[in-house]
Subunit: 231 residues, 2 copies
């Protein structure tokens, strides 16, 4: 066979290794979870509803393609995305999928109808109102994910502890909640809780990675890189 042909075959074989990682729903969910912060196999198993052995296997596949890495902490094996660019790539994949597959758009609107009428506000609107001090931005993800990185100005109250902390919230500001991103329901749940207590609240659908891409694409002129990661 032609040498060039052989070279291309090898090359695309390699690209397909990354592709294969993206071909299983469960694996995609794992990457999305890890994009928010390191997690143990056990945590991932609980979050995705898969058996531990199954999670372990998927993680190995991901590891072979260098999309995730791990280090052992005592008894646990803690996995994380191998690079920040993996998280960024997932945003690309989500964008493309949502653009091309009407089904995804449908699923998204369906669930929001189910969760009362909870249309997200846009990042642009949020930024504006935050600058004017009108809103308090709430990160409702688990605290360790907040610590890994969050939208500047946000405070952390994990969804499970929201009811406890209601008293500490300022009464003169509207609350805007966010969570892992457009396919995470925690921020919607938070708004539901807040509204049920008579607190004015809304949500954005973006998570940290979507936000990051947003600022990189809007104020390109200002500076090189936002330093929102505490590592």
């Amino acid at each position: 066979m032609n040498l060039e042909r052989k070279w291309k075959d090898q090359l695309y074989q390699e690209f397909a290794r990354i592709g294969k990682c993206l071909s299983s729903p469960k694996r995609l969910e794992l990457i999305d979870l890890l994009a928010q912060g390191p997690k143990s196999v056990d945590q991932l198993s609980k979050a995705t509803g898969m058996s531990i052995a199954n999670v372990s296997q998927h993680l190995q596949t991901l590891h072979e393609s260098r999309l995730v890495r791990f280090n052992k902490k005592g008894n646990f094996v803690i996995y994380e995305v191998a690079e920040l660019s993996v998280a960024d790539f997932m945003v690309s994949l989500h964008r493309l999928s949502e653009k091309q597959l009407v089904e995804i758009q449908r699923l998204k609107t369906d669930i929001l109808q189910h969760h009362a009428s909870m249309e997200p506000i846009s990042l642009e609107v949020l930024m504006e109102r935050m600058e004017r001090g009108e809103v308090l931005l709430l990160d409702v993800r688990p605290e360790d994910e907040y610590v890994m990185g969050h939208i500047p100005g946000a405070i952390s109250i994990p969804i499970g502890e929201l009811e406890k902390h209601l008293a500490t919230l300022p009464v003169n500001k509207e609350i805007v909640a966010y969570c892992r991103g457009p396919y995470c329901l925690m921020s919607a749940q938070a708004v539901e809780i807040l509204k049920s207590k008579g607190i004015k609240a809304s949500r954005i659908e973006e998570g940290v990675h979507e936000w990051k891409r947003y600022v990189e694409h809007s104020n390109k002129s200002t500076q090189g890189k936002a330093s929102y990661i505490n590592n």
Copy 2:
């Protein structure tokens, strides 16, 4: 089962439909080819070395996920990428893959050694020297791909016709060739030809889509969108 779980399963199922398209080497190669311009099944079959039936089948998979579309022209079925964002997404995938998989980097350097020492120059250097009128930029892809869209200022001489057109090239300028992108060998072949005729030549490894991303990320401040597509 939990409603939220069920929703997520459906959602990730959909994402995985896009992922599945990316899990086969041949399918990736097809998308890359189509990203350069519309092609018939037969053309794709020749370009990839696959059987026609096989190509048709892959194209159907891609079509089900809305990554490609087609229209019939006489006896032929002409496929193309469904959206420009598909091509852009492929650049993301290439970037990520090349970053994570050393194997790809190795394959790339290997082939270039094989093709004499033909290190590409950077886009930045190219732009600078083009502005100073020092270089002539040569698009060596098939002409229809050039017509679909090209780097501004480039002229089209398909690789197969390069030898014929040697006389028409200006003698006072250095030639810089480009082709489909980092995984296409045509620009390297062009440089080889030119050098063998005593013409000073080099190449960039970027193609149209990589170039587009480059300008979008560098002069973000200037304007919204480069209008390099002739449609």
